[in-house]
């Protein structure tokens, strides 16, 4: 077990592209850190640099206080789980798991003991004599994990280990991974493009975009206080709603209507002028008829026609189309492209609201909607910065 420190780690490819730029991160001993971001953001490259599978162009990587930039992967004493599982097809499950131990020249008895122990933890005992070709996806995934844990390495690196599983199994395996990590207490760096995995698994989450860290923090912190548009749009499902807005005369003008600026916003908008983007999470809307008077004055109300109502049982997702200009910023375009919705035709902005299940709103109804103004975020479209954050918070870019 060990801590991992990335000190201005940079990866430049021969053609000049910067895959990772000045990556600074201190991963504490036993911590579970998630690297998350859209494809091509450099998260896998970063992981491969920690593993030693990619050279580090500049900067320093320290594991357990030791500089390991020039050490071969096998000398770093870290284990890795691959998205493809990378099981050796010619070996049985037992041989697969014993492989790193055999290479480390452990005695036969010790190898057997460790493999049996790991197999027990991962419920693989009955499968030890099978070949990978005869295992299901979930079983293969567990064998891959088993091969990583048998040698009790200093750290685990996981490269999208659950991405090849179907949705239900993925949720199940998520808890397996989480429990296993807690039980072993081994430092873990986990790469995923799935924000749900990032939110649920990690002690801390690192959000990356185009080779640079956007924000590092605990999942809830990232959700509640996103540094910028990108983080705000990336974290959360359904994602945050964005609308263009302007500020004047102490009120916020949006296509939903004019909202009064509360004390919280007014103090931070003192030196901000011009166009803004307002970000509102789906759960910060509510059916106005269900709002108690005690909290009603914290927000504002407007009317819109529901396009679509999805009842999830516990809540209702209600979709509205808001006429007028769409919020536009480089970050939002990138997020849309990553989600594959960049070229969906639509007039105006789509608004997703999460109402409580008691709401009686139906498709085609004109609903009265309450929005919690305490929870809205305002972003500067030119640089994506969240202008509603405390000064102290917004500087936490590379914690």
């Amino acid at each position: 077990m060990a801590d991992i420190v990335l000190d201005k780690v940079t990866k430049a490819f021969p053609d000049g592209t910067l895959a990772v730029q000045e990556f600074n991160l201190e991963i504490a001993d036993g911590e579970f850190v998630i690297l998350v971001g859209p494809s091509g953001c450099g998260k896998s490259t970063t992981l491969n640099m920690i593993a030693g599978l990619e050279d580090i162009s500049s900067g320093e990587l320290r594991i357990d206080g030791q500089r390991v930039n020039d050490k071969a992967p096998r000398d770093r004493d870290i284990a890795m789980v691959f998205q493809s599982y990378a099981l050796y097809p010619n070996m049985t499950v037992r041989e697969n798991m014993a492989f790193p131990l055999k290479l480390a020249k452990l005695s036969r008895e010790e190898i057997d003991r460790k493999v049996d122990e790991a197999a027990k933890v991962l419920e693989l005992t009955a499968l030890l004599d099978r070949k990978p070709a005869n295992l299901s996806g979930g079983q293969r995934q567990r064998v891959a994990m088993g091969r990583a844990i048998v040698r009790s390495p200093k750290a685990f690196l996981m490269d999208e280990p659950l991405s090849n599983l179907d949705a239900k199994l993925r949720v199940q395996m998520r808890t397996v991974v989480s429990r296993l990590q807690k039980r072993l207490g081994t430092t873990t760096v986990y790469v995923t493009h799935d924000q749900t995995e990032a939110m649920t698994l990690g002690d801390r989450v690192v959000i990356m975009r185009a080779g640079a860290i956007q924000q590092v923090g605990e999942p809830q912190e990232l959700y509640d206080h996103p540094n910028n548009l990108f983080v705000a749009g990336f974290i959360g499902s359904p994602s945050m709603n964005f609308l263009p807005a302007t500020v004047s005369d102490g009120s916020l003008h949006t296509s939903l209507g004019d909202f009064p600026l509360g004390e919280r916003l007014r103090s931070r908008l003192a030196d901000v002028s011009g166009d803004l983007i307002v970000g509102i999470r789906p759960e910060h809307f509510e059916d106005a008829s269900l709002i108690e008077d005690s909290i009603r004055q914290r927000g504002a109300e407007f009317e819109a026609t529901a396009d679509l109502v999805e009842s999830m049982g516990s809540d209702k997702y209600v979709y509205f189309t808001v006429e007028g200009e769409k919020a536009s910023a480089a970050e939002l375009e990138e997020l849309a492209a990553d989600a594959g919705s960049g070229d969906l035709p639509s007039s105006g902005s789509n608004l997703v609201c999460r109402f409580s299940a008691e709401s009686r709103v139906k498709e085609g109804d004109t609903a009265r909607i309450w929005v919690n103004l305490d929870k809205i975020h305002l972003f500067d479209p030119s640089n994506g910065r969240n202008v509603t954050l405390h000064e102290g918070r917004s500087s936490g870019v590379s914690a």
Binding site: A51, G52, L53, A72, P73, R74, I78, A79, M80, F82, Q83, S84, A86, Y88, P89, N90, M91, F99, P100, L103, A104, K131, P132, A133, N134, R147
Partner: protein, 317 residues
């Protein structure tokens, strides 16, 4: 109409309809099968004409005493020719030479081919050029290449002729065999490399990464991860090359003409059949070569489990 007849009638109807449906399905299937045969027919016909017929004809010839120098003495003698050939010293010498050439060339080609495949696979700069250059020997007609080797090793005029001092290398048995094997290896290593390169492409990159994370050295990655995964491709390459090498002819024909006991079984069969005009003995030798090749193929396919690349998942057994 009573209820009984009403229920009865549909039953008989439906049975008949079912039968009809069955007949219709099998009719359709029969048509499909017929079409299949028709589509195969041209290929099957050509195969029978150029492969099956000559093989069967030479088997038929091998059971006869049939020497075109003495056509009157033609008669059916059963396995007599086989007894003659299999007790003949020349046959076994040629068989030994052929086996030696086969084993040595295939072994060397496997090693060199693997190295060449690796180079072709890993080359990043000028990949097309490297691959083309590596394949040139295989693109040259064997006889042409054999002649150029012959000239190269000719004393005084050849550029390799005096490499090992005085004397003509192609006039001694050991050096002749070495030169024959060299020519064979030079020519077919690229072919081996090509087949092995297909095998290299079967090894997932992640597997090698995983192995290096697991602590394997470069050599261990090669022997414990790559080779087992490549096994199907390697076996196919070995099978092709072994069968090919066992029929070695052109190089020997040009380089030594079989002098100094350097004949292969193919050379011997050719000498008896075409030069000696002994159709009986020559055909017998051809049949024996055919049987030997069949045995080699059988060993590879049945004992080593060789299969076409890709059809085996590697380790599924």
């Amino acid at each position: 109409m009573t209820a009984e007849t009403a229920t009865e009638k549909p039953t008989t109807h439906s049975v008949r309809a079912q039968r009809k449906a069955k007949a219709r399905i099998s009719e359709g299937k029969r048509q499909e099968r017929k079409l299949g045969w028709l589509l195969c027919a041209p290929a099957a016909f050509v195969m029978i004409a150029v492969t099956a017929y000559p093989i069967l004809y030479s088997v038929w010839l091998s059971f006869q005493r049939f020497d075109l120098k003495f056509p009157d003495q033609r008669e059916f003698i059963g396995l007599g020719n086989y007894a003659t050939v299999l007790t003949n010293e020349y046959w076994w010498t040629a068989f030994g030479i052929t086996t030696l050439i086969t084993v040595v060339t295939v072994a060397v080609e496997l090693v060199l081919g693997m190295a060449l495949a690796w180079i072709m696979f890993r080359t990043l700069v000028g990949r097309g050029l490297v691959r083309t250059a590596a394949l040139i020997p295989y693109g040259i007609v064997t006889v042409v290449a054999a002649f150029s080797w012959k000239f190269a090793w000719t004393p005084d005029t050849g550029y390799l002729g005096n490499l090992f001092g005085e004397g003509a290398p192609l006039t001694e048995r050991a050096s002749s065999l070495a030169i024959i094997m060299l020519a064979e290896i030079w020519k077919t290593t690229p072919f081996m490399a090509l087949l092995l390169m297909a095998g290299l492409a079967l090894v997932p990159e992640d597997l090698l990464k995983a192995a290096s994370m697991d602590g394997a050295t470069g050599w261990q990655r090669f022997t414990k991860v790559m080779l087992p995964v490549m096994k199907p491709a390697i076996l196919v390459a070995l099978l092709f090359r072994t069968l090919d090498a066992f029929r070695v002819f052109d190089n020997i024909y040009v380089l030594t003409g079989g002098a100094n006991n350097t004949s292969s079984v193919s050379m011997l069969a050719y000498n008896n059949l075409i030069r000696g005009l002994n159709l009986g003995i020559g055909s017998t030798m051809s049949v024996l070569i055919f049987i030997a090749v069949a045995i080699i193929a059988f060993i590879f396919v049945k004992l080593f489990g060789t299969a076409a690349p890709g059809s085996d998942e590697g380790g599924r057994r």
